[in-house]
């Protein structure tokens, strides 16, 4: 069913796919964990429940996530906001490591991640699968089920659901208290697929409740000093399935309807409307009547309308073009009793694009495209008067003040951004299975609400974060090349790239602020010129028809060119090597041993600062910059198939991750300051296909 039924999103950037088999292996994990299996992808974690993909060194607003044709609008700007997609609902996962897939947006500085459902054949059939996975670490598991009915007249329907439940996870030597998680998801699809027209409706509901390590909740710099001095988390309780504070409860609903019609000698027109609602509740450790009240309550509603056109495939010239209109509203509930971190806003977006590729002959393919986006943000925000005056906003923007409340000022900024993006590239096919891809992508990204409007205490980082109203758009130039050899015995791809970004927005510490709760570090966003350089290497060697070796190496280096400093939070060099054995004739037996080595990040900016601790009458250096040591993990994976009847198949899988129960900390896990990463985990997976 898979294979060439899917069209490429781009032609001059090599697309990477995560196989269905790999997706199923990560059934108990997050979407970010599965993406992490690709070269060039790392993950930004908060504990193990919140996993965000980092593509070629960039994440969050610099990555576009497309879920069944819908660009996810799920407050993706925050480092602790994981994509709201159930990994078990994913049929096909594609990564484009550049902004060249302009049909989805022009601001993908890092890349585009595309989640699709498997194509349903036009014939009478009924099939599905049910999968149950259990893990020792977290003492929980996942139950997921999917059923598809299709008809030869073109009608089809799929229903899928999954439930995930874990208690506290464990590091090698201790329990990570309050890291449990619950996830419930359901998705429905109904459609009609005829040769020259079709319609499809899709609905998905994603709900998650994720505990955040209790010991990572702190008030101020002196508390941080105590936590950093301890080698183990300051709070370790007995194992429990209960999820207390701090935690996140996130619900994401997505509804989409899409229709297409093919006109002879013209092409295919498609029209899509989608609606998304994201409700994010964050619970903190609170006092008194507020104990059970969320400290953050955001509701993001987005409506999008897409009109796309694709010409006939018979031509040498493929053309794609389209229009996009989007309305978004963010509502920050004031009943939390905590100042809003993200303000109320209305956002209006319009986009237009044209992409084309031309096959010169059998060997040469050329591609070019352009996109223009207009964004209008209409914001209502309460500024602290002290900050308003300190930033000189009272002189610069007096006209946007709606109301002066003494210690606060209500302002109504109206911001407009015009973003142009483009791509150009070529593909050359050699004799002997070689291919060369060369692509240039110009990406342009308007600053997100967090970068523009943050102003106040961010509890999860125990720091004060300040945005800037005057930011303009980031402009990125990414040049990437890939040389690929696709061969039965020895295949490889080498993908070097350079990404130069002007007005790159970063957040970094600037000072210490004295408050009634003690000293807090202040982090301010600023714009600079950044450059990221890297190379991703994949290689596979087939010793015999049963024995395989695969290798992966990802290197990325990031620099702040204005200040001549390394960029913070750049993934360290990592390499994965795997030996796998498969015996298709013996119950399709598969055995694989994987080694994952992550180097220490040796380039990072020094953001350390000194804190006076009254208890000890000393000034302590708070080391928030140094990176964890290198680590090596060994993972084992196996599966075996049993035919139950002619049409049903049972697959039994057994896996072990972190076999040696190594204690390690990952630079890009925000929890690393307080606790080790996950210890050994045994996984049993039963899949029943029918």
């Amino acid at each position: 069913m898979e294979g060439k039924a899917y069209k490429n999103n781009t032609n001059t950037t090599l697309e990477n796919n995560v196989s269905k088999e790999t997706l199923e292996r990560y059934s108990t994990g997050a979407l970010g964990d599965a993406l992490n299996s690709l070269s060039g992808v790392y993950s930004l974690n908060k504990g193990n429940g919140i996993v965000k993909p980092i593509v070629n060194g960039l994440h969050s607003s610099r990555i576009i996530m497309v879920n069944n044709g819908v660009r996810m609008q799920d407050q993706e700007w925050g480092a602790e906001h994981a994509p709201n997609i159930d990994i078990n609902s994913v049929g096909r996962l594609t990564l484009v490591k550049s902004a060249s897939a302009l049909q989805y947006g022009g601001d993908a500085m890092g890349g585009v991640i595309i989640v699709e459902a498997l194509k349903v054949p036009v014939k009478d059939s009924l099939y599905g699968k049910t999968m149950a996975s259990l893990t020792s670490n977290g003492r929980g598991g996942v139950l997921t089920s999917e059923l598809t009915k299709s008809h030869s007249n073109g009608w089809y329907g799929t229903v899928q659901g999954s439930i995930k439940r874990f208690g506290d996870f464990e590091a090698a030597d201790y329990i990570l208290s309050n890291t449990g998680l619950i996830e419930q998801n359901v998705s429905l699809r109904l459609g009609l697929n005829k040769f020259n027209y079709g319609i499809e409706g899709y609905f998905s509901f994603f709900s998650s409740k994720i505990g955040i390590l209790r010991a990572s909740h702190l008030h101020g710099a002196a508390d941080q000093v105590r936590a950093f001095e301890s080698n183990t988390p300051l709070i370790i309780n007995d194992f429990t399935y209960n999820i207390g504070a701090p935690r996140q409860n996130v619900k994401h609903q997505l509804a989409r309807i899409k229709g297409f019609k093919t006109f002879e000698n013209f092409g295919t027109l498609s029209l899509q409307y989608d609606y998304q609602q994201n409700n994010r509740l964050e619970f903190d450790i609170r006092r008194g009547d507020d104990r059970d009240k969320a400290a953050m309550d955001l509701e993001l509603n987005t409506h999008t309308l897409l009109l796309d056109y694709e010409n006939d495939f018979e031509h040498k010239l493929d053309l794609k073009s389209g229009l996009m209109a989007r309305y978004q509203n963010n509502f920050a509930n004031p009943n939390t009793g905590v100042r809003r971190l993200i303000p109320d806003y209305d956002k209006y977006e319009l986009g237009i694009y044209l992409l084309g590729n031309y096959a010169l002959n059998d060997r040469w393919l050329l591609e070019a495209g352009a996109r223009f986006d207009y964004t209008h943000l209409d914001v209502y925000k309460f500024y602290r008067t002290s900050f308003w005056e300190d930033r000189n906003y009272d002189v610069l923007y007096p006209h946007i003040v709606v109301e002066d409340l003494g210690t606060q000022v209500l302002a109504n900024p109206n911001l407009k951004f015009h973003n142009a993006s483009a791509t150009a590239g070529l593909k050359y096919t050699f004799k002997d299975n070689y291919q060369l891809f060369l692509n240039y992508a110009l990406a342009s990204r308007a600053p997100n609400p967090s970068e523009l409007f943050s102003e106040g205490l961010h509890h999860s980082g125990a720091r004060i974060e300040l945005g800037d109203l005057s930011f303009n758009s980031e402009l990125g130039h990414k040049v990437s090349a890939t040389i690929q050899r696709d061969h039965d015995t020895f295949s490889f791809s080498i993908n070097p790239y350079v990404n130069t970004i002007s007005d790159f927005i970063i957040i970094e510490p600037t000072k210490i602020l004295e408050t009634i709760r003690g000293n807090f570090q202040v982090w301010e966003y600023r714009q600079t010129n950044a450059q990221l350089l890297g190379v991703d290497i994949d290689a596979a060697y087939r010793f015999t028809d049963k024995l395989n070796f695969t290798h992966q190496l990802s290197i990325v280096k990031g620099y702040d060119r204005s200040r001549n400093l390394p960029l913070i939070s750049m993934p360290p060099i990592s390499t994965k090597n795997e030996i796998s054995f498969e015996h298709p004739k013996f119950h399709n037996l598969k055995l694989a041993l994987q080694s994952e080595y992550v180097f220490a990040q040796n380039e990072y900016p020094d953001n350390n600062f000194e804190v006076y601790v009254p208890e000890t009458e000393t000034t302590e250096l708070l080391d928030i910059s140094s990176t964890p040591s290198a680590y090596h993990l060994l993972n084992f994976n196996s599966s075996i198939d049993f035919e139950i009847t002619k049409t049903s198949l049972l697959t039994v899988g057994l896996g072990i991750t972190n076999i040696s129960n190594t204690s390690y900390r990952n630079y890009l896990n925000l929890q690393r300051f307080y606790a080790d990463d996950l210890g050994r985990n045994f996984l049993i997976n039963l899949k029943f296909k029918y």
């Binding site: 702190l218 008030h219 029209l271 507020d290 602290r384």
Partner: protein
């Protein structure tokens, strides 16, 4: 025919835009409920004499202006105590951003098991502090305390309120903050001279 197809989305688009941009109601300000703006420490000399009022006020909370520290109404953090004198101490916490001001001390006393004040003096300062109240488990809270100014000396005295401290850890019940854990809700340091 073909042109009309393009008109449909434009029509829907126009409807979305006009339909949604009319709600120009301004948001309401957030009432910061857990904010502690003010800590007042009152020291009353046993056997008579006027009270000494140590106060720190941070009206716009964490992240705005720095707190204002006053002693007996004068902007300063310097306190002078008398050699050999005992003081009855009490601490009051307020959220003055609300009108009328909210008494946070009551909240602390209602959740006494989860709160404790600590009075940490620098080694050069010769004072003795004792808790004068206790929670349901018989552990100190520290809203009420006594302070004895022993020999002539000077140094810092820090008042800290911890949320969810480990009250059963070593020394915590007698006022040693070292292994108390928990999170700091409020902390202020005063410079004390005993003469």
């Amino acid at each position: 025919m073909k042109k009309s197809i393009f008109l449909i989305p434009l029509l829907i688009l126009a409807l979305i835009f006009t339909g949604c941009s009319d709600d120009d109601t301004t948001p309401e300000p957030v009432n910061e409920e857990e904010l502690i703006t003010t800590m007042t420490v009152t020291l009353s000399p046993v056997g008579g004499g006027s009270d000494i009022i140590l106060k720190t006020v941070d009206m716009d909370g964490v992240g705005g202006n720095e707190p204002v520290i006053t002693v007996n109404g004068v902007t300063s953090n310097e306190v002078s105590l008398t050699v050999g004198t005992s003081y009855e101490g009490s601490i009051e916490l307020l959220n003055e951003s609300e009108d009328p001001a909210e008494d946070i001390t009551e909240e602390v006393q209602e959740e006494a098991e989860e709160h404790q004040f600590f009075y940490t003096s620098s080694s050069s300062l010769d004072v003795t502090t004792n808790y004068e109240d206790e929670d349901g488990d018989g552990n100190p809270i520290g809203v009420d305390f006594t302070l004895v100014a022993n020999a002539a000396s000077s140094g810092d005295l820090t008042f800290t309120l911890r949320h969810e401290p480990n009250k059963s850890a070593t020394g915590v019940a007698t006022g040693d903050i070292t292994s108390a854990g928990g999170e700091t809700d409020i902390t202020e340091t005063f410079s004390i001279t005993i003469e």
